[in-house]
């Protein structure tokens, strides 16, 4: 790493745009033009700045909340590529495709560049002074109950500033919203283990039984889990780990399973209880309450309800008994029902029966600064905000890092309700659907231009605070960092308290230095500590470690019988989460649009996955435009016949179907969020993403599906291209 012992501020000052032209010579088409091309030299340089030599700076990936540390490669003042930072215990030098595309968030041509004030139906560019004055004016005399702040998950110093700003109004209306979050699981974990997010040690497990947890794709901390998965496959003592995935629609993780079990949608919990029952029958000791809870779940019934054969249940039970420790995971597919909490509780119970708690389900360390701990988002928060907006409770609405107009179910009528707020301020990188509804849009610095600290929700092997720092000079003069904006707003409210901080950088530096000893820098002078912190991009801490609590009682754990077939809407709609598009906030990054969905290999468009058997029943072939309609609207998309889905379900990926957000997102595909039924988990109030029932009909036309797989649809035609071997035929322990 070349980045030790320099002052970041100096670096940014001298950087300028000099040298950019030298480097850009790689971009033309190659005619030699002596004396025509300009080479701009630096005015001043530091020693490490040598044309054509890359410089690396550490920061934190902001593409999702997993908190992977990244290293940006810079040439002549431009960030070219992001790599993983090998020192991070979360991602250990690795990145996912989503993380790689972070540069396209930064260089995106559709970023908002000026503060925009709504005048009628269009936006007028205004100055920051005017924007701040407007906010001061609109919040003047407004009580705390009349202000609402919507955000995604927040942590670190930004959360502190945000909290203080809201405090200055006496406002308690901070709504942390994530459209796709394991919120039900957090609540269930809290009950089962005493913590919301324990550490799942996949690498140590010999069997992983995952109920729809797409940990290789989009679940919680995929890059971290992917590495653990690689270790798990190699085996702890030479015995290769076995992955069994239970779900109704195949995820990327399901596609990597040794055994992929398709279950009737919503019956994951029943299968879990059935397995406990069967384990009991095979001699695993069950405590009284557990035995009572699983009593009715004999093999025959479970097999009938879930569609998993009794023989298969026996095999899994035998495997779970023979190979320990195992690990059972409850993922979004199990959570997404009205009985999601019960599903998750039943699955967690299986972990306890198998004795995995304390072995592969471990206690996670906690960053010892509770004020910086992550406030994780969920959908219950959105529901609450939406109700408040509908009642016309809010005079001022702020929105940051969320796009509810796109991601809220259409039936919630969020867009209409948002209009009822008096003054709507949206902090935005792009003019997305929510920003378009704002009265005032404030343009943000990209994640590669902004300062921040972040505490990841899922900590790997040690507690850590991640540093996010500018990798290069700002692209646009009139964007601001979120921290700087909050600081400016706080100065309106508590001028005395914050006048000492020139900007967010000064605040951040001050706050970190104040806690230098607690952050492990007690012996260093301020500058050395600060420079080292920035150079590493991570502060590793002695985390607080508690214990996992004893298990919750299984008494009262019941699961509803599988829903009866609805004659009018016979199919279950499974909105699927694609590892790169997630909830649609990155759809405007063209690499991700053109990166094929791993399972269907489709690009640039949405599709409806239908099992070939169901498709044959309905006379649907690949490329047919089908109408998927439910109680809350309908959408049309191309059909794709997909063997990895329950015949009574159809699946449409989330993330596409934008009506705004720039050239790479707008107008591609459809948005299944819009037709979701507003069904909520009974215990947590979370939106039950998988509870929508639909019918499907051909809409007449047919298109050629744009996909990467060949015309024969992923067949090798007898050629040995991708070869599979049975585990008893190899000796992995003898390999390199």
């Amino acid at each position: 790493m070349m980045n030790s012992g320099f002052d970041r501020r100096d670096f940014l000052k001298v950087l300028g745009w000099g040298g950019a032209a030298v480097a850009l010579s790689g971009c033309g088409n190659g005619s030699v033009e002596d004396g025509k091309e300009t080479v701009v030299s630096y005015v001043e340089t530091n020693d490490y700045m040598i044309p054509s030599i890359s410089v690396y700076f550490n920061s934190t990936c902001a593409q999702c909340d997993a908190g992977c540390s990244i290293t940006g490669r810079l040439r002549e003042g431009r960030v070219l590529k992001l790599e993983g930072n090998p020192d991070s215990t979360i991602n250990r030098g690795k990145t996912c495709g989503l993380g790689q595309a972070g540069v396209q968030h930064h260089y995106n041509p559709d970023r908002v560049r000026e503060p925009l004030l709504r005048t009628g139906s269009s936006g007028e560019a205004i100055t920051w002074e005017k924007a701040y004055a407007l906010i001061a004016e609109k919040t003047k005399g407004v009580s705390g109950e009349e202000i609402a702040f919507l955000s995604g998950g927040v942590s670190g110093h930004l959360k502190v500033l945000l909290g203080n700003y809201l405090d200055s109004f006496g406002c308690k209306n901070h709504f942390a919203y994530e459209a796709i979050a394991p919120a039900v699981l957090r609540a269930a974990n809290k009950k089962s283990y005493g913590v919301e997010m324990p550490r799942f040690n996949i690498g140590k497990a010999k069997v992983v039984l995952s109920f729809g947890a797409d940990f290789l794709g989009s679940w919680v901390s995929p890059v971290h889990f992917s590495q653990q998965y690689a270790q798990f496959r190699k085996g702890v003592d030479g015995q290769r780990g076995v992955l069994i995935q239970v779900e109704s629609k195949m995820t990327l993780t399901g596609a990597n399973a040794d055994r992929w079990l398709v279950v009737r949608p919503g019956t994951e919990g029943i299968l879990a209880l059935g397995l406990i029952n069967a384990l009991g029958a095979h001699g695993v000791a069950l405590s009284g309450d557990v035995a009572a809870a699983v009593k009715g779940y004999d093999k025959a019934r479970v097999s009938k309800d879930t569609g998993v054969s009794a023989e298969q249940i026996d095999k899994i039970v035998a495997l779970l008994k023979a190979r320990t420790p195992s690990l059972v995971l409850a993922g979004s597919a199990a959570e997404g029902y009205a009985h999601g909490s019960q599903n998750a509780a039943a699955i967690n119970l299986l972990n306890q029966v198998l004795g995995n708690v304390g072995k592969t389900v471990e206690v996670a360390e906690v960053v010892p600064f509770p004020q910086m701990a992550p406030t994780t988002g969920n959908t219950a928060a959105l529901r609450k905000l939406n109700d408040g907006l509908a009642a016309g409770k809010y005079k001022v609405l702020f929105s940051y890092a969320a796009n509810p107009v796109f991601t809220a179910p259409g039936a919630m009528k969020f867009k209409d309700n948002m209009a009822k707020a008096g003054f709507k301020v949206v902090f935005a990188h792009y003019l997305d659907e929510t920003a378009l509804q704002a009265d005032l849009v404030l343009p943000l610095d990209s994640a590669l231009e902004d300062w921040n600290t972040q505490v990841p929700e899922y900590l790997a092997t040690c507690a850590q605070i991640n540093i996010q720092q500018p990798l290069m000079e700002k692209l646009h003069a009139n964007t601001r960092g979120m921290g700087d904006i909050l600081l400016a707003l706080l100065k309106q409210r508590r001028a005395e308290e914050y006048k000492g901080f020139e900007d967010y950088y000064a605040y951040l530096r001050g706050a970190m230095l104040k806690n230098k000893a607690a952050l492990g820098g007690g012996k260093l002078d301020d500058d050395t500590f600060w420079n080292e912190t920035l150079s590493k991009g991570i502060v590793k801490l002695e985390g607080r470690v508690g214990g996992l609590s004893g298990r919750a009682s299984a008494a009262g754990l019941t699961l509803p019988a599988p829903a009866a077939v609805d004659a009018q809407y016979p199919l279950q709609l499974i909105p699927s989460v694609n590892a790169s598009l997630r909830d649609g906030r990155h759809t405007n990054q063209p690499w991700l649009q053109e990166s094929p969905d791993p399972l269907t290999t489709i690009v640039w468009d949405s599709w409806v996955e239908i099992h070939p058997r169901k498709a044959a029943e309905l006379g649907i072939v690949e490329g047919d435009i089908v109408e998927v309609s439910g109680k809350n609207g309908s959408i049309k998309a191309q059909a794709y016949l997909f063997p990895g889905i329950h015949p009574d379900a159809v699946s449409i990926p989330l993330g596409r179907g934008h009506e705004a957000m720039g050239r790479y997102a707008k107008g591609y595909g459809v948005n299944p969020f819009q037709i979701l039924d507003p069904v909520f988990d009974k215990e947590t109030g979370e939106l039950a993403l998988h509870e929508t029932r639909v019918k499907i009909s051909k809409a007449g036309s047919r298109v050629i599906v744009v996909k990467d797989e060949g015309v024969v649809g992923g067949m090798q035609m007898g050629k040995k291209i991708a070869v599979r071997v049975s585990s008893d035929k190899v000796k992995l322990s003898e390999e390199v």
């Binding site: 790689q100 260089y107 992917s226 998965y229 050629k719 992995l732």
Partner: protein, 285 residues
């Protein structure tokens, strides 16, 4: 290889390919990809776009088969007629296999694609006339043709996006063929650094973009001549040999071979430089 040199020394040049008496020295770049670790997540592919200035062609051109993904993930299903793919899918990262006896090289009318001494199948853009013979002759279909002028008329990198372009890699214009280069720009830097220090490149000095990104570390890249390199050890452990068209594993298919290294289309004798390790599936469930 300048053309005059190529023509004058053709037989000698060909002789210098790795045959028993004249092995590669000091470099032979090669890969091994563990399909049991590969999860098919596409991170390698996106990393390749970022490193190698690959144009995003858009939906319409993608539909015409004009995608430019040097590194693509192929996904296969089992073909035994089961109703559900209950053993998952087969993922396979596919890129130029850097064949030792590359079928593309022999058909290029202008010598634009040829072999480097360290065993990479190089593509010289300014020499390429766009005949596309190489692509037609490639059994792996990993060569991609620039049907359009992506940097200019197609405006694939509009303002600001163009600042991300890697200055170490040419932005290709219309009418030239391109393909995976084993990140030759990174290899070149590592080789120059090593030369400056009067040594050869050590294992780990150079990583390809796909290897560096891969979350499961399924991809290894290195020097097959260097007996300390991971790639050498992997090839050796799997008894896969560069200049053989049938490996130990193939000979013993009926029995328990306990090996899983193979190369694709070995029987066509292109002698690829990429060894794949078979995906393993548990027999107990």
């Amino acid at each position: 290889m300048s053309v005059s040199n190529l023509l004058e020394n053709w037989s000698e040049f060909r002789h210098l390919h790795p045959v028993d008496d004249v092995p590669h020295d000091p470099y032979k770049w090669a890969m091994s990809i563990d399909l049991d670790a590969c999860s098919g997540c596409n991170a390698c592919s996106v990393a390749c776009y970022a490193e190698n200035n690959l144009p995003v062609v858009g939906k319409e051109k993608y539909a015409h088969g004009q995608a430019m993904h040097w590194m693509r993930i192929e996904r296969y299903w089992d073909e035994d007629g089961r109703e559900f793919p209950d053993q998952g899918a087969q993922f396979l990262p596919m890129m130029c296999q850097q064949c030792e006896a590359a079928p593309c090289e022999t058909v290029c009318p202008v010598g634009a694609t040829n072999h480097t001494p360290d065993g990479i199948n190089s593509q010289i853009y300014n020499r390429c006339i766009g005949s596309r013979y190489c692509s037609a002759n490639c059994p792996f279909k990993v060569r991609y043709f620039n049907w359009y002028d992506y940097p200019t008329t197609d405006n694939v990198w509009p303002a600001e996006m163009n600042q991300q372009l890697n200055p170490d890699v040419t932005v290709r214009g219309k009418g030239v063929m391109e393909k995976c280069t084993f990140c030759i720009q990174r290899v070149t830097v590592a080789k120059n650094n090593a030369k400056n220090e009067g040594r050869i490149v050590h294992d780990g000095d150079v990583q390809t973009a796909c290897q560096q990104a891969c979350p499961t570390s399924a991809i290894s890249f290195g020097n097959l001549v260097d007996k300390e390199s991971k790639v050498y050890k992997q090839w050796k452990a799997q008894q896969v040999e560069l200049d053989k068209d049938a490996q130990a594993k193939d000979k013993n298919e009926e029995g328990r071979s306990e090996l899983r290294g193979y190369r694709i289309f070995e029987e066509l004798r292109p002698y690829p430089s990429v060894m794949y390790l078979e995906r393993v599936r548990e027999s107990a469930v």
